[in-house]
Symmetry: D2
Subunit: 345 residues, 4 copies
């Protein structure tokens, strides 16, 4: 059994990690840390878990955590992870970090979007945990930077096509929409029920910090610099993320060409579902699951491809992909612990 | 392995049965029937299930179903089950019926609330499937009438106290609130998003057909006729049912007395969770689970007990309890296949 | 024209006052105060109002406000109003206070539920602003304590029947449900979208501070001490409050008796609508309006009356009733400025 | 006073017309027709209107309607209007049609997207009622084709820039999101609460019938053929429509250039609000109002302009714009009857 610790267990992503790991047949959850709720039982914070997760939350202590865990999931605010992860790795544990701190290869990109990086030397070792794309690297990794939710929803539909040179990488536009849980469990005005309900709007237009993360990885895939236009929007629902991508086709291609390109690239990838006949993926169909559903339509008038993806921002966009990364790191089938039957409604 | 069929698999309760049974370690789903969608794959109706439930829906045919199933869950509109279940039982299968047709012992009560009963003789054999209360009878049953969602949410908190004579059974008032999925997947005006959203109202005040179902069972528990006042309300959410019950205490009792009465009665019942210190149960804490959370407060000014329960109307209020009934009928632990970790959000 | 000031203009109740007063034909809004947003334009806080309410919010200064206003609406947290209102009244303005500070006649009741009262002597002068019940007193008032939202929804259906002695005042149970805006615009965990959405629960069972407010007024109406059981619940919607009341009939009465009692008592009261044939009032039908819709059903089995009311908690439950109070204080028709056509959806 | 009739008064757009017209100071509502609810009072269909709109719905009869009305708003399903409007016009009334039947100049475009047109000769007379753009034509019109909700949200932000030649018309992509009321009050599966709630998805990708309507008008504005890519999405909320538009700048331009182009074009247009500093417009800020809020950000990396608009699909996207059209046709100020103060929440 893999002994797992969740640092930052009481935020939404952390609690979702707890949910998934508690049902994972190869994992035993040994440590839950929480700055805010140290000393309280997990199920007093999330009463849903009463009788299921009764462990106490504790303060983070590197020595203590590393003694009891083989893998640590850090679901902490940006900046904290880069301070503590070097120490964890010295103690010999593996780490899946859900913050942005180890998502970038290029420290300049990170620092332009976030802040000075305190563990630059680890960036070259860290692996970007987009499972279906970088599985080989992940398998050998000691430290995985788990992708952001928006980048996951944008990169998965694009990866096969960009790698195959089928789209004009200068033309990519990603229009994304996220449920409110994407903002986490912190108290801010825009997350209040009465502010988010019966409301739809864009935010951080052209300045969201997930955009350089997308671009660094699209650049790797394309083998040349890629810049995109990205606009995130807020949807009045708890979970779910939908992205519609517009890109010019680099060469003439029909539905079957696009479909085959995707099916070949994602052969054997159980969590990627390509819809049929252009059916647009719906966030409700992936709620609570690790699926990324992808659909597409070719807009012949403009030689433009319209790609659509749907994920659960807390699962494939965070905790689910993190566990999938752990599975790959430990040589397990990538689906272990992630195959709960979806809810019909 | 138990071979299970779901008749009426594409309604919300039927689809929830499919979800739960597909994850049940002792069950193999062999037949899904649907009048409306016969010939189509289940996952074309519920794309969430793509790759998980790809079986075809078929028309209902008693011979064919009974050959391939040991247990049949009938999730059909009232009246259909009483026509087909006698034939199923003659063929030797066991049945859990999710309609009202076999919930009553007294055919007069059924007929007053519904319509003439076509299988009156089976009523005496059928067992009311309120698992925690009638487990012994269920264990020997060939036919279980699965309780209504409202009765489940009302009877579970009341059963221990009524049986112990702790409350004045003439004083019971149940104020219930249900998510919209309780109305099923049929097309009616009040289930439209724009009609139900940003709306809260009572309906069928004093005339809901679940009221006689509650009363027949409270009468059995009390050993004397019990009538209650019951008002259901509609809440703008998908899943969840909350009930607040008001009843006069029959004798002086303190928090510990009430609490102990419940804990003793429900000892070993994994799906009943009594909250501490009067914390009101929240439907979000039971969403997707088979739990019934119960809390209470004594209103000392009036010698009145305030009981609160929360269930997921589609799980403990329908499909989950149905599977729990099957588990009991087959001598399995009642929790098998029903222990998914709850969602934090 | 009446010069009106709103103190605490940027909370939800304050902003709703601004909305209503801005459309009131006899009012000119002269002062908006906000501790948090002083120096900013109102429409930068509520962009909906861009081009409509461009005035700047300012810090509260008694001299300055009283020079420019004939009436001050204080939409401030409890405790602040009792400190500042005596000074306002000395300066000769009239006040409608939306906090609890001047809702009680008996200072002991206030102090038991809230805190020591700093302006006890004003309590005897202050009038409880339940418009349809205490219109005569309000007409002569200099200071009105605007009723709480829950008391409004409970007292309006009960007043005619309690006054007529038609119900047993020892038997009253009020089960209320409120939209999330009732919690105001402050940052607390339970008001977060992901906590309130897809959730339904009771809160503050038997301890909500609106209960003594109801009881003091029911006692006045009944001419003898009245205690009730009251349980508030939280509904995932922005606006709206529904209450279902259960009470034993004091004497035999039929539908027409109840209906006539109400119609007579509320004759000429434009904002009270009694539904026909027991149709349950729906919060969506009063959204954005000053209506209180009331329906009822007699539960003959128990000689029990089931009363239901629906209001918009921010309008009839707060800002609308406050403006109605002002209308009465100034001798205007009570409906002036409050007759916007309701939204169909 | 203008005597107004609403044909199809009980759908969502029709009911919203009733709401607005009932509060219009220059209008008297004389006729409400409804096929489904003929013979019933309007407020029995929409109880929100009890005491406000008590008129009876009647069957449509051209003679009878035309005798009692100066203007007829036809809020009927496509195809019905083209059959009845010729007869209405012969009787001398003016018509604002909310269907698609008279939105096109080119009958071929209409017929390709809808069906054969039964009143082709009227198409040349009919005026496209995009008020801020075609006010002059509308002023002289007897028949106005009221724009679709999506076209309104797309054309208003684009019109000034397309006319000024500031954007490359071959590059336009419109990603739109609509509340569920856009689907009307008819019974279809995707409009059920449980299907739309906690869900976000695209639909009719590349095949929505509003796309040719946009293109015909963009072509008029640009003076050359314009094709766009358009993807509509469904948002779990009642009202509101947001569109994010991506287009390449035709020439170098800064924020002030774009802003000034819009401000000049929309000078004096009270219902167009350009937000400052790129603030994204939010549907909640226009709910229940006739505003179209517009924001923009220049994406310098790609020389791309990102335009965002927010409208209430039932008001500026339907009934509000229809009344604005009537105001212009009658020479009233365009804002009469449309200036209700917005709701803060």
């Amino acid at each position: 059994m893999i002994r797992a610790a969740v640092a930052g267990a009481t935020g939404y992503a952390g609690a979702e990690l707890v949910r998934i790991l508690a049902g994972h047949p190869e994992v035993v959850l040994t440590v839950l840390t929480s700055r805010q709720y140290a000393g309280r039982s997990f199920d007093s914070i999330y009463p849903a878990m009463a009788g299921t997760i009764t462990a106490q939350c504790e303060s983070f202590d590197a020595d203590s955590v590393c003694e009891r865990a083989d893998v640590i999931f850090t679901a902490l605010p940006h900046k904290l992870p880069m301070d503590i992860i070097p120490g964890l790795m010295e103690r010999g544990v593996k780490v899946v970090d859900l913050s942005a701190d180890f998502r970038f290869r290029d420290p300049e990109l990170y620092e332009a979007a976030y802040q000075p990086h305190a563990a630059r030397d680890l960036l070259s070792e860290a692996v970007y945990g987009l499972c279906e794309v970088f599985a080989d690297d992940i398998g050998n990794a000691r430290l995985v930077g788990n992708p952001g939710c928006y980048p996951t929803s944008v990169l998965l539909p694009l990866a096969p096509l960009v790698k195959a040179g089928m789209i004009d990488t200068g033309s990519i536009i990603a229009d994304s929409k996220s449920g409110v849980s994407g903002a986490g469990r912190s108290l801010n005005m825009t997350s209040l029920f009465c502010e988010a309900n019966e409301s739809f709007k864009a935010y951080k237009v052209g300045s969201h910090r997930h955009e350089p993360e997308m671009e660094e990885n699209l650049t790797r895939m394309a083998g040349k610099p890629v810049n995109i236009s990205f606009v995130p929007h807020l949807v009045p629902m708890n979970r779910g993320m939908q992205t519609t991508i517009y890109a010019s086709l680099a060469r003439d291609a029909g539905d079957e060409d696009i479909r085959n390109c995707m099916l070949e690239y994602y052969e054997g990838c159980r969590f990627i579902r390509i819809t049929r006949d252009g059916r647009p993926p719906d966030t409700r169909d992936v709620r609570g699951t690790n699926y990324c559903d992808i659909g597409f339509v070719i807009d012949r008038d403009h030689g433009r491809l319209i790609l659509m993806s749907a994920i659960d921002n807390l699962v494939k966009g965070a905790a689910g992909q993190a566990v999938q990364n752990m599975n790959i790191m430990w040589g397990l089938a990538e689906t272990v612990g992630l195959t709960g039957v979806p809810f019909p409604v």
